[in-house]
């Protein structure tokens, strides 16, 4: 990437965000009347969603418990998800009580069996060598890549969050920070054709140390910045310089926001110390400052890892859900507290779900389609969208006989609903999700 393209994607920040100009940015801020944010919560390692959404009817639970064996959650602990009209089919994992409350208040939807697909796929088609299937199924890195790309090939080099940001760049012309921000490191999801997320820390300072106002330090700082503009002929040198250029301008704007003493959004997070809580608090701080920052469409990414539960699945996933639930709940409250409850939609993605059949080590192995959660006051909640797989080994939804569900909703369709809500026009949508037309069914209408 050459410097010019970096400046292009960085928008107005390079021109306006020199040190000490925060005040002037507030003057030129957007109206705040039209703001939306998408927050992706990536459950890295492959979340065993068979134990996130569990049948609670007598026959369904009995079938679940028979196959899952030691991995079966006790029926009594499952948190009922009563659907509109009084139907009760499923329960939530017992450690997701905050999410159950959001369900009850209509701010949580479940989307069933989402995954990577080239086209709608039956088992017979899957077993036919003539049918196109996603590349490198059941591999962490490749399936993460494809879920974040919404393209079932490992050769894509942009993510759908990135392409969505690219398409809505006109909404962010007054932004003083990049339109995508990650608290979970560099990821394909937040990589566009010419843009990349700003990665921010979730604790400590986000600034450059060691410069006073002395003449000597001023000269050193000036030289530091001058050096970022030379010797860009070598690709990697230019890339390193461009990362630093973005860091200097963005940190000048964001450090005061991230280190502010008592933002409104902090209160719901009181007492929460986990990584995912810190990440979502940092994101909440940025959203609270949306009028100051001037962006009208922001894409965020937070990552919670260690879902690769090949052993000790019950305890490990239980622990992770105990971290996730209060963090998501606090974030939802924080958004409501700043009047952005309907402007911010959070949603999950994961590498894949895990085998319905347990392994001999008290865990489950890499699988395919997985259930997702969508949270926000714009969500048409209390609904399970899509079709749950038939939970039987070797069933028509199982690619083999270990319980790897062939997805019934492509990640492309899931992303389409989120992207359309975010503001992507039909023509933009075809650029964000180039393979969407392979799926004739309407995207799930959870927004």
């Amino acid at each position: 990437m050459k410097r010019r393209s970096f400046l292009c994607h960085a928008g107005a920040l390079a021109g306006t965000a020199a040190l000490g100009q925060l005040g002037s940015l507030a003057v030129s801020a957007g109206t705040g009347n039209d703001y939306k944010a998408l927050v992706c919560i990536f459950l890295a390692g492959g979340n065993d969603s068979n134990n996130m959404i569990v049948p609670v009817d007598t026959a369904g639970y009995a079938n679940y418990a028979t196959v899952r064996g030691d991995l079966a959650l006790p029926q009594a602990g499952l948190l009922p998800l009563q659907e509109a009209g009084g139907v009760l089919r499923y329960g939530l994992h017992p450690n997701l009580s905050g999410l159950q409350s959001l369900w009850s208040s209509g701010s949580l939807a479940v989307v069933a069996n989402v995954g990577t697909l080239v086209q709608p796929l039956t088992k017979a088609q899957y077993l036919s060598t003539a049918t196109q299937k996603p590349e490198s199924l059941f591999s962490h890195i490749d399936q993460q890549h494809e879920m974040q790309a919404s393209i079932a090939s490992v050769s894509s080099n942009t993510g759908w969050g990135g392409r969505l940001s690219d398409q809505l760049a006109a909404m962010n012309l007054n932004a003083s920070v990049p339109p995508m921000i990650s608290t979970g490191g560099n990821n394909l999801f937040v990589t566009g054709a010419a843009s990349q997320a700003l990665v921010i820390p979730t604790s400590g300072s986000f600034g450059l140390n060691g410069f006073t106002s002395s003449a000597g330090d001023t000269a050193r700082r000036s030289a530091l910045e001058s050096l970022l503009n030379v010797d860009q002929g070598a690709d990697l040198v230019a890339a390193a310089e461009n990362v630093m250029t973005g860091a200097l301008s963005s940190s000048a704007v964001l450090n005061p926001i991230l280190t502010a003493s008592a933002p409104t959004v902090a209160a719901p997070f009181a007492g929460l110390t986990t990584s995912i809580a810190k990440q979502l608090l940092a994101i909440a701080k940025v959203i609270e400052a949306r009028a100051t920052l001037g962006a009208q469409r922001q894409v965020f990414l937070a990552v919670l890892g260690s879902f690769d539960t090949h052993t000790d699945q019950i305890n490990q996933q239980g622990s992770l859900f105990s971290q996730l639930d209060p963090a998501l709940t606090a974030f939802h409250t924080a958004m409501a507290d700043i009047g952005a409850g309907s402007d911010v939609t959070s949603f999950t993605l994961s590498d894949f779900s895990r085998t319905f059949q347990p392994n001999t080590g008290g865990g489950s192995d890499h699988a395919w389609g997985s259930h997702q959660l969508v949270i926000g006051d714009a969500v048409k909640g209390q609904v399970v969208y899509g079709t749950m797989p038939e939970l039987a080994l070797g069933s028509p939804d199982d690619e083999g006989n270990e319980g790897r569900w062939i997805p019934s909703i492509a990640v492309d369709q899931y992303a389409a609903t989120l992207s359309s809500w975010f503001g992507a026009s039909p023509s933009a949508l075809s650029l964000v999700l180039p393979n969407l037309s392979a799926f004739p069914a309407a995207p799930p209408a959870f927004l």
Partner: protein, 570 residues
């Protein structure tokens, strides 16, 4: 960030590298290398070589050590690159010492209670975290005579990954890394077996206590190690040509090296092994966690059925765990992907992110045959990587050449080159802030994947997967601490702690700004800093208070070390 697009890259890479790689044309460094395998084996007498140039010798040490020192540079110039590498292959490992078995669950008297320096906290820190192992890593990297071994073992630790997220016991991580140090120049087949039977890997990827199919319970063997040993540690997911490019089928699609049935086969192979018994105990199924020694077999828990392995090979039913293990590891070892898959990654760790296809092919050939008919000789592979024409020369010119210094190298090289010292405490926290906690990758997929691309390009750049605004500032702030702020004081809770410091007094004696910058340029980056950058830095030096000469040296060192040109080793 997670691309694996070898195929699409190959054409572009080949084109660019053919035109502009091997920038050492005309340098005596180029003449000193032995290009064509298999003559690169160090056990043959190298041809008489001209002394390498200062720049090429310095570049060799940037690739082969944790930082160029004046004494190493003089040595390489004196004895030549081939002799230096041959000697390095024979230096005994600087090993992790002072650790011994601790139970997996910490005793109640040993906990992190937030009181720095009390006995309970030190027990938790020193025995139930990797703190002391990480500290020793940096001490070895800074002062060990086995520099090449340390570099290669660290590269191997990023291919055969275990992480302190699960291996928190210091003695376990020490055992595992000592094994990698021992095997750094051994045969790959030896390494593969040592990794497979390591109880540390057994714990990390669940081969320890992996039981056979239990039809009554409806369970099947754990697939964790069976899958990842194939995907990450040996052959990868798609068939490769010897030059590292993807093999494609008639429709242009990559050809998978294995499918789920083969993963099931290897998962069944890796059943029936448990932790080594504790001293005085008898081995039994579900032995408690113990990282000392190698795993032991329990035949009754080994899957008896025949297993499907690579390329249609099936094992005989009812083999012992040991027989099955040999069959399976030989099957992996002899797969043609191993040379290009492992060789290319080692090139990326040591020399350049974007090796030409021809470079990869030359290394694959050495992996296949070290010149004496031996496959898998890692010492010969490392030697070939570092003596290849594409590695050598004074100034490579390909625009995609080189690699971003990984954090561990970024924090050690200035200390070695400028004559500083550290006890490793600050270096670990600094490296972690830059995205590389030592032996603490977030998953078995390492800190960054070898397939990572610069955003929006087809340029491979593994280390850039952890290069972002937060880590870029962390790099500059580290340089500020050690160069401008005078370093970090000793930690009174750490026995023998010396803190971290880099004295610049000897440089402060040079008062002419241009001469000062040139001196740092030679010392830190083999004189490769551009004239334009040198002028910018010299101007900043000239603006410092002349009454405090140290300020000039600090300014020059800070600006060079935080620059993109320094951070990308070329």
């Amino acid at each position: 960030m997670l691309c694996k697009d070898y195929g699409r890259l190959t054409a572009a890479l080949a084109a660019s590298m053919l035109l502009s790689a091997c920038g050492g044309g005309g340098s005596s460094g180029g003449a000193s290398s032995t290009a064509a395998p298999p003559s690169t084996t160090p056990t043959t007498t190298p041809p008489a070589a001209a002394a390498p140039t200062v720049a090429d010798a310095s570049r060799l040490l940037e690739q082969a050590t944790f930082g160029v020192t004046a004494s190493d540079l003089a040595n390489v110039q004196s004895i030549g690159i081939d002799a230096y590498l041959a000697a390095q292959l024979n230096v005994a490992p600087s090993q992790y010492t002072g650790f011994s078995y601790t139970p997996h669950t910490a005793p109640s008297t040993c906990k992190s209670d937030g009181t720095p320096g009390d006995a309970a906290s030190i027990c938790a820190r020193d025995q139930y975290s990797n703190f002391q192992v990480q500290r020793q890593f940096f001490i070895h990297a800074l002062t060990g005579p086995d520099q090449l071994r340390q570099r290669v073992a660290f590269a191997l630790s990023q291919i055969f990954v275990v992480s302190n997220i699960e291996i928190y016991e210091a003695y376990g991580m020490a055992d595992y890394q000592n094994m990698l140090l021992k095997d750094a120049f051994a045969n790959y087949r030896t390494l593969l077996q040592d990794v497979t039977l390591s109880p540390v890997m057994g714990h990390y990827l669940d081969m320890a206590n992996n039981a056979k199919t239990n039809a009554a319970a409806g369970t099947e063997p754990n697939e964790n190690y069976g899958r990842e040993v194939l995907q990450l540690m040996s052959i990868g997911v798609n068939a490769l040509n010897a030059d590292g490019s993807l093999q494609l089928d008639s429709s242009g699609a990559p050809i998978p090296t294995y499918d789920q049935a083969v993963v099931d086969g290897f998962s069944a192979i890796f059943t029936g092994w448990t932790y080594p018994p504790l001293a005085g105990a008898t081995a039994k199924w579900n032995d408690p966690i113990n990282f000392d020694g190698v795993m032991v077999s329990v035949a009754a828990q080994h899957e008896p059925a025949s297993k499907l392995l690579l390329d249609g090979l099936t094992t005989s039913a009812n083999q012992t765990p040991e027989q099955d293990l040999k069959t399976a590891l030989d099957d992996i070892f002899n797969h043609p992907n191993v040379g290009p898959f492992i060789g290319k990654q080692l090139i990326q760790h040591l020399v350049t992110s974007n090796p030409s296809a021809a470079y990869v092919a030359r290394i694959s050939a050495v992996f296949a045959n070290n010149g004496q008919g031996v496959r898998g000789d890692l010492g010969a592979v490392v030697t070939a990587i570092l003596t290849d024409p594409e590695a050598r020369g004074d100034a490579p010119t390909a625009t995609d050449y080189g690699h971003l210094r990984e954090p561990a190298e970024f924090v050690t090289a200035p200390i070695r080159s400028l004559g500083g010292q550290s006890d490793g405490v600050y270096l670990e926290s600094a490296s972690a802030a830059m995205g590389q906690p030592i032996y603490g990758a977030p998953s078995v997929f390492n800190y960054y994947p070898p397939s990572n691309l610069l955003p929006g390009t087809s340029t491979l750049a593994p280390e850039f997967a952890i290069a972002n605004a937060a880590t870029a500032l962390a790099r500059a702030n580290f340089i500020n601490t050690v160069i401008v702020q005078g370093g970090v004081a000793a930690d009174p809770t750490v026995t023998g702690s010396t803190g971290t410091s880099i004295p610049l007094n000897s440089f402060a004696a040079t008062t002419d700004p241009t001469a000062l910058v040139a001196q740092f340029n030679q010392t830190l980056m083999h004189g490769s800093l551009s004239a334009q950058a040198s002028a910018i830095i010299a101007s900043a030096v000239a603006s410092q208070n002349a009454a405090t000469p140290l300020a000039g040296a600090q300014t020059a060192a800070y600006l060079i070390l935080s620059s993109g040109q320094y951070q990308v080793e070329r």
